[in-house]
């Protein structure tokens, strides 16, 4: 069988019966209220708002953690901490050259 013949035969296939579903369909749809406007539906549902709020909260907490974490390694803060251990003023400790020479001296002696 050629392709053309096959396609032609497929085209000629018809449903043997008569179909009239108008009455049945109309009876059914009259009972159904049509949800007319999709745009009338609120786009920001409570579920959606909650999800966005949760993401924002997580982001805020993460940013705070990062800030706290980096701050704890802040050099000035570190110098203050060391200064409190070695009992001299943080201003001196934050001066790196002085601090370095102090450490060298401490190591050599």
């Amino acid at each position: 069988m050629t392709d053309d013949l096959l396609i032609q035969q497929l085209r000629e296939l018809r449903y043997p019966g008569r179909v009239d579903v108008t009455e049945a369909v109309m009876a059914d749809v009259r009972k159904r209220p049509l949800l007319v406007s999709e745009s009338a539906k609120p786009k920001w549902s409570i579920k959606r708002i909650s999800a966005v709020a949760a993401v924002l909260a997580i982001l805020l907490v993460s940013i705070n953690f990062v800030t706290i974490f980096t701050r704890s390694y802040d050099s000035a803060q570190l110098a203050t901490d060391i200064a409190s251990v070695y009992d001299f003023h943080a201003d001196y400790a934050s001066n790196s050259s002085y601090y370095e020479s102090y450490l060298v001296d401490a190591l050599l002696n």
Partner: protein, 179 residues
């Protein structure tokens, strides 16, 4: 029929105008159900279901495609869902949807031979994979282009080409085995 005006009226609450859409498309939908759904599908029931679902889906129709394309897509979805749901699909020689071909030929003997040929063809398309059958039926239906079929089946044109190629090949193979 001015489809846009009819749909706007329906959405505005004039449900009675939906009848115009049903009358316009019911034969086409029934034929599509018959060809894609195959012997075990109740065409009348399926057509009714398509129009009930279409009514609920009307607010989603934004006139970005033709209404006919929207209806065909819905029909394909409804029928494919039914096929998946109802695994007792497949051919039977004495099923209620015996195919019929419009013919002017009065020769009874020829008509019987013709009828038998179409029964065989109908049984063979029933054995095709659902996607292949859908693509092939749409291809032979209302002179759909590959783009239209891809739009209805919501897949790529390349996939449609491949499905039709395989469907034709399988169908020819099945029919040559029948002879």
């Amino acid at each position: 029929m001015n489809e846009e005006a009819v749909i706007s009226d329906i959405l505005a609450g004039n449900v009675n105008r939906y009848e115009e859409i049903v009358r316009e498309y019911q034969d086409i939908v029934a034929n599509l159900c018959f060809k894609i759904g195959g012997p075990r599908i109740d065409v009348q029931e399926m057509t009714q279901q398509v129009f009930v679902e279409l009514y609920s889906a009307l607010p989603r129709f934004k006139f970005q495609s033709k209404l006919s394309t929207f209806i065909y897509r819905l029909t394909v979805n409804v029928v494919c869902k039914e096929i998946k749901h109802n695994s007792r699909w497949l051919t039977s020689q004495d099923d209620p949807n015996t195919p019929e071909v419009a013919s002017d030929d009065n020769n009874v003997e020829q008509a019987i031979v013709q009828d038998e040929r179409y029964r065989t063809l109908y049984a063979a398309i029933g054995r095709l994979h659902t996607e292949q059958r859908t693509a092939l039926v749409l291809y032979t239906f209302n002179d759909f282009s590959y783009n239209d079929i891809a739009d209805v089946m919501q897949c790529t044109v390349a996939k449609v080409e491949s499905l039709i190629f395989r469907a034709r090949k399988n169908l020819k193979k099945m029919l040559s085995n029948e002879v």
